[in-house]
């Protein structure tokens, strides 16, 4: 199973590396932008999955890290220096502080109260960004220069930024996979299944939760900075709860606690958003919502749950047979 997964991972990576070669010849540049969006949100979703999928604490305010990363990068690139690392590192720095403090507070609550608390904190950020004139208020910040990799080499071209983001996605995936396979990752799953028991085994569960909260926030921060590099403007929408809700949808459609699943969920939501909005015009949100509702009702484990079901029953035909005999 692991070998098969490695094979699929390499195949997908190869496909993604070769994809820009076909741009403009086989398909329009638009699809590169679509994939870029998937990479950026994918990075965030990987972190989100560590917190909500593996540790079982669903955050309804993850946009606060995303927004902070985006705003810090925007301010750094516009007013200080348009070196890409400056924006990313400053964002990570500020989000480390924010994540550390919020983790101290949020770790006191669980399940539904954790949802409320993260929601309240993210609204806090949204109201601040929306009303603070210094960072643009409701208008946000526009006219952000395209960042440079090192002084002299611009990341302004779409292909350049595509590879830059892809590199980060690969690193993020590798880091997340390492975390999941580590002792720490196992303890997180233990906390999700039964926190009392993990405590009795001698683990400091509150410290573990704080750590994973901070880590997942840093993933979000990185994604935010890349988003600013991709779209040269930021707005308070980046802090909005509906964005946090979208993350939850991506996570659930893909399948919580699998890393690959949420990435698939991200790709599905973004692609479906594109396809549905051309087919159904304004009704696409309705279709996405309906698909999401059906997914929760019939397969709460998401796409990965369906795939696992099929592979465990030994192929589609056997599954159909079993359904017929039952």
């Amino acid at each position: 199973m692991v070998r098969f997964r490695k094979f699929v991972e390499v195949a997908i990576l190869l496909f993604l590396v070769l994809l820009p070669l076909g741009s403009d010849r086989l398909f329009s540049d638009f699809y590169i932008a679509l994939f870029l969006r998937i990479f950026i949100f994918g990075i965030l979703i990987l972190g989100f999955d560590l917190l909500s999928g593996y540790c079982g604490l669903v955050s309804f305010g993850h946009a606060m890290f995303f927004g902070t990363g985006a705003y810090v990068a925007a301010i750094a690139w516009k007013y200080l220096n348009n070196c890409v690392w400056l924006g990313i590192l400053l964002g990570l720095g500020l989000n480390t502080i924010i994540g550390y403090v919020l983790a101290l507070l949020c770790v006191r609550t669980r399940t539904i109260y954790f949802v409320f608390l993260t929601f309240a904190f993210s609204q806090f950020f949204f109201v601040t960004a929306n009303s603070w004139r210094l960072i643009g208020g409701a208008d946000g910040i526009a006219g952000i220069p395209s960042p440079t990799l090192i002084p002299g080499i611009s990341l302004g071209s779409r292909t350049g930024f595509y590879y830059f983001s892809l590199a980060f996605l690969v690193i993020a995936y590798w880091v997340a996979r390492r975390i999941v396979n580590s002792h720490f990752g196992r303890v997180l799953e233990g906390i999700r299944e039964n926190e009392e028991r993990a405590k009795f085994l001698g683990y400091n569960t509150s410290l573990m939760i704080r750590r994973v909260f901070l880590i997942s926030g840093l993933f979000g921060s990185l994604a935010g900075a890349l988003m600013t590099g991709f779209q040269p403007f930021v707005s308070p929408y980046y802090y909005h709860w509906s964005l946090s809700g979208e993350f939850v949808i991506m996570e659930i459609l893909g399948g919580m606690g699998t890393l690959v699943g949420p990435l698939m969920g991200t790709a599905i939501v973004i692609f479906m958003g594109d396809i549905l909005s051309t087919w159904f015009k304004e009704a696409w949100m309705l279709c996405l919502g309906a698909i999401y509702v059906i997914c929760i009702l019939y397969s709460p484990e998401g796409i990965t749950g369906i795939i696992k079901n099929i592979s465990e029953t030994g192929g589609l035909m056997k599954l159909l047979n079993r359904l017929r005999t039952n």
Binding site: V58, L105, R108, T109, T111, I112, Y113, V115, F116, L117, F119, A120, F121, Q123, F124, V127, T128, N130, S131, W132, R133, G137, A138, W241, G245, V248, I249, I252, E282, A283, M285, L286, L288, G289, A290, Y292, V293, I296, L297, P300
Partner: protein, 302 residues
């Protein structure tokens, strides 16, 4: 959406006259009583069924839009105040029968995810059917204008809203505390398994409760739609208000929901005048503080 800068936090005209204070007080109680209609339903559903209904705000919105359409068709406000909640209660029943009831006994977050998806579906459906233009429900002619209450000029319709929702809340209170059904619900708030052991069909209770609370939310939607305006984002406004209220009051507590609604209504009435930019900020700070210091709510009965 707040478009006010944070810098001029203290406006010059902070000194209020007595009549202004009284008007704000009255308005705060009016708003609070409508919030109580919404939040108490959400709170009871959570307490008894263990379902956090994120679509509760959508029921308010759908009630308002349905009421608007009925008034437009029939021209009678009372018909819509009666019919719209009936329709929305039916919708609530369908949702409970085919969706929510599949998730009983599962993780509480699963129902939150489900109802979140439903609220998304409803808000885009509303946008498709009625468009994004804000409307207002036409009130009968005898509710237009102002009334003189001991020297304060107060809109007649708001007074009606105040009286009507207070009556409804009182009715709910009596229903919960004096009737047989209320007894079952109150017992369910403490221990649903024991209630089942006494031979009560709890799934029937769940369904009726869900239907009933959806209807009450729709009633609130109609009167709010006539008092303020109807727009496609009001579902979010009201679900956040209701969530804050029940967090302050304690999940599953009727009394807590009432007190929380009053606090929020008064805070809104006074806060909007004294500190426009900061009012929403303060609400979120209060919610976070309550969650951190007393997660079970300020007025929790347990």
């Amino acid at each position: 959406m707040i478009l006010v800068p944070l810098s001029p936090l203290i406006p010059q005209d902070i000194v209020m006259t007595f009549s202004m204070i009284m008007t704000n007080l009255l308005y705060g109680v009016t708003i609070g009583s409508t919030y109580a209609l919404i939040a108490s339903g959400l709170s009871i559903i959570f307490g008894v069924m263990g379902v956090l209904n994120f679509a509760h705000g959508s029921f308010v919105m759908l009630g308002a839009y349905t009421g608007f359409t009925i008034v437009k068709l029939t021209g009678n406000f009372w018909v819509s105040l009666f019919l719209a909640p009936l329709i929305i209660a039916m919708l609530g029943g369908i949702i409970e029968r085919f969706m929510v009831c599949r998730l009983y006994g599962r993780h509480v977050l699963l129902t939150l995810f489900l109802t979140f998806g439903l609220s998304m579906v409803f808000s885009s459906a509303v946008l498709l059917i009625w468009g994004g233009v804000p409307y207002s429900i036409q009130v009968p002619y005898y509710f237009k204008g102002f009334i003189n209450l001991f020297g304060i000029y107060y809109p007649k319709f708001r007074l009606f809203v105040l009286v009507f929702s207070c009556l409804l809340v009182t009715f709910l209170w009596i229903f919960l505390n004096r009737s047989r059904w209320g007894l079952v619900i109150r017992a369910g708030l403490f221990d649903i398994e024991t209630v089942e052991a006494f031979g009560v069909d709890i799934y029937r209770v769940f369904r009726l409760l869900f239907i009933f609370c959806s209807g009450i939310a729709a009633v609130a939607g109609v009167i709010i739609g006539a008092m303020r305006s109807i727009n496609p984002v009001m579902d979010v406004d009201f679900i956040t208000v209701a969530l804050i209220v029940i967090v302050i009051g304690g999940l599953g507590s009727f009394k807590g929901a009432l007190i929380g609604s009053l606090i929020l209504g008064l805070g809104e009435a006074f806060g909007a005048q004294a500190i426009p930019g900061l009012a929403k900020f303060v609400t979120w700070v209060i919610m976070a503080a309550v969650l951190l210091l007393r997660p079970e709510g300020l007025f929790s009965e347990e």
